[in-house]
């Protein structure tokens, strides 16, 4: 029984491991440094946005506008290149993400609107602005050589993007588990009122949660645009669904109060590994979505099992927990 609950606790890791083992056996050429590095590079786009979303989901909020912010930040970073140069323009793109996040945060906290509705609205608004400033046409950057350099693989494994992703997710893990503000995010997500009453400024935490998520979506968008030397108003239009899936697969609860950075890392890698494996086998795009959907359901059901089990234990009176009464010989 103990092994079962241990397995359930590390279910993301186990599913990732299973995905990798099965893929390695069935898909020729899957196990190689190139696959790893390119798969990781690909996962990094989803991953960077997922980092921001993990914090928001733990705090009990959601940001649907991340895909639009992704596109808008990328466009700005490309459009300003002739005036500012590549790196300042890239910084401006990230700032756009930050501002978009601040708008989301200010509106959610200030107007007390549910973030699902509010970010649905800003998703449409940011996307439309992206179309508006580009006339719905892709915009092209000034220096393709820079893009080629950015897409380079270092140490056989990392691109700039994937290295940033891995570094950030480790930092997030540290922040969520070892610092007080990190732990306060969980408190706000479990019960905002109770958190407020125990002296946590939950409004401020939520606001900065949105700023953080916006900034990372912006960063991901800027990196994507720099690597492709293109800013496009249609970039990232279906991204947010995959990102939410990755975060939830990683064990972060959509209801808030529970989640982890390493879980998200596992979720992102699982989805990435699965996509690459299925693409290697030329599985049609719609079948891929069906498989991802089933894995999501499976993990959510497992999540429920773990929680009801724990809850059942916690619901018992304290003396029973510590000293379980054996009934009819069964434990």
């Amino acid at each position: 029984m103990r092994y079962v609950s241990l397995a359930l606790q590390y279910r993301v890791g186990i599913i990732l491991g299973l995905t990798l083992i099965v893929s390695a056996m069935l898909v020729p050429g899957y196990v190689s440094a190139t696959t790893l590095s390119l798969g990781l590079d690909r996962a990094a786009t989803i991953g960077l946005i997922a980092i921001g979303l993990t914090v928001l989901l733990i705090a009990g909020q959601i940001d649907l506008s991340a895909g639009s912010v992704f596109a808008l930040a990328g466009i700005v970073s490309i459009m300003l290149q002739p005036q500012l140069g590549i790196l300042p323009a890239a910084a401006a793109g990230v700032v756009v993400g930050m501002v978009a996040g601040a708008i989301n945060g200010a509106l959610v906290v200030g107007l007390k609107v549910h973030s699902l509705v509010l970010t649905l609205a800003t998703m449409l608004i940011f996307r439309s602005i992206a179309h508006w400033i580009t006339d719905s046409q892709p915009v092209t950057g000034t220096d393709i050589m820079f893009s080629l350099a950015l897409a380079q693989i270092y140490l056989d494994v990392f691109t700039v993007r994937s290295a940033l992703f891995v570094a950030f997710i480790l930092l997030l893990h540290f922040w969520l588990t070892r610092t007080i503000p990190g732990r306060n995010v969980f408190a706000v997500g479990s019960n905002a009122v109770a958190a407020e009453e125990s002296g946590i400024a939950s409004g401020r935490i939520l606001f900065f949660g949105f700023v953080f998520a916006g900034t990372l979506a912006g960063l991901a968008g800027v990196l994507q645009s720099l690597v492709t030397n293109t800013g496009s108003p249609v970039f990232g239009s279906t991204l947010i669904v995959t990102v939410i899936a990755a975060v939830v697969v990683g064990g972060t609860r959509i209801e808030g109060g529970k989640g982890s950075a390493l879980g998200t890392l596992g979720g992102v890698l699982t989805i990435g590994a699965l996509t690459v494996a299925m693409e290697f086998q030329s599985v049609p795009a719609y079948v891929q979505q069906v498989v991802s959907g089933f894995i999501l359901i499976l993990l959510v059901v497992l999540d429920r099992t773990v929680n009801t089990r724990r809850k059942a234990a916690a619901d018992r009176p304290a003396f029973v927990q510590g000293n379980p009464i054996k009934q009819g010989g069964s434990a």
């Binding site: 050429g29 190689s32 190139t34 696959t35 390119l38 798969g39 590079d41 690909r42 786009t45 006339d135 046409q137 892709p138 092209t140 950057g141 393709i144 893009s147 080629l148 950015l150 897409a151 994507q224 690597v227 492709t228 030397n229 293109t230 496009s232 249609v234 970039f235 990232g236 239009s237 279906t238 991204l239 690459v276 693409e279 290697f280 030329s282 049609p284 795009a285 719609y286």
Partner: protein, 311 residues
């Protein structure tokens, strides 16, 4: 004895070489979409021809999402395929992916749509319709129908779109080249959309009325839009000569009934086939041209029964 052993070596070497040859080549095909009026028949034709050529196809669908396509190029490289056929949806975004492929010594070609100048060093060839030539052919067809004089309007596709630029440019240049007496009254964009074409056509018919001698639409769906607008305005009058492009089934019907004068067939089947055949030649070590157009056919009442519609 020694000879015998040598013979054995030779036989072994020959066997190794033949298994090497028999090993099927794999080509990564990053297509525009799995289900689309033009793309689907092109994809199917490519797959079918690949089977005949004993080439394995790794088919990845972008679903009209450029970002997905740029990532799928990575999958192709990681998979270590022998060649890449890309259906580009953007003039630039695929370049780093194509550069990676080049680094890995995987030849890449473009199907159907061109990319920008910067992409040229990274692709071996571009197979697909010559949209400029389509414009020229449309000009010839309309010039012939009007006997070399009259006033026409152009219903163009999307502003700034490569296909639109080619189809309008080819048309205008060709009229000048043959010093035709045809005058273009106006060029309006209707984004390859039947409904938009209907709306702009109503305006054109009101503005120019009886001065309108002919119409050139950048594709058949927009030609359809004009026909509908004309029928609203003049229920009893026959339509002026209309020339469209693409060779859709309903355009063939309109040519039969005399509502349209001509269309130009750009076959998705040819499009798909030419791409894989070109790739097969590259894999065999042949030199190929950097631009290979697919055949185009002008369809009028004379040959409408003998030509297959494109889709």
């Amino acid at each position: 004895m020694i000879e015998k052993r040598n013979l054995l070596y030779v036989a072994a070497a020959a066997m190794l070489a033949s298994t090497g040859l028999a090993h099927a080549k794999t080509v990564c095909y990053v297509n525009a979409a799995d289900s689309h009026a033009y793309a689907t028949p092109a994809n199917e034709a490519l797959q079918e021809r690949a089977k005949e050529l004993k080439i394995e196809i790794l088919s990845l669908s972008q679903d009209f999402d450029v970002q997905k396509g740029t990532e799928q190029l990575n999958t192709c490289v990681a998979r270590g395929v022998d060649g890449i056929i890309l259906w580009p949806l953007d003039p630039q975004a695929y370049i780093p992916g194509l550069a990676r492929a080049q680094q890995a010594e995987i030849p890449a070609i473009l199907i159907n749509s061109p990319m920008g100048e910067e992409a040229k060093p990274f692709v071996t060839s571009f197979t697909g319709p010559d949209v400029y030539e389509e414009g020229e052919m449309a000009a010839d067809a309309l010039n012939e129908a009007l006997g070399g004089e009259g006033s026409v309007v152009i219903i163009a596709g999307q502003a700034g779109n490569g296909t639109t630029i080619g189809r309008v440019g080819g048309f205008e240049d060709r009229l000048k080249e043959i010093s035709s007496g045809i005058e273009v009254l106006d060029t309006v964009n209707a984004d390859f959309d039947q409904q938009k074409a209907l709306v702009v056509s109503r305006d054109l018919i009101t503005r120019f009325g009886d001065d309108l001698d002919g119409v050139y639409a950048n594709d058949d769906t927009m030609a359809r839009g004009f026909i509908d607008a004309w029928k609203e305005a003049n229920p009893s009058k026959p339509t002026p000569p209309i020339v469209g492009i693409n060779g859709q089934k309903d355009a063939f019907e309109s040519i039969r009934t005399g509502e349209m004068h001509a269309t130009i067939v750009q076959s998705p089947v040819e499009d798909g086939r030419l791409a894989i055949e070109t790739m097969a030649r590259i894999l065999d070590g042949e030199e190929v041209k950097d631009r290979l157009p697919i055949p185009l056919t002008v369809v009028t009442k004379e040959n409408v029964e003998s030509v297959e519609p494109a889709f």
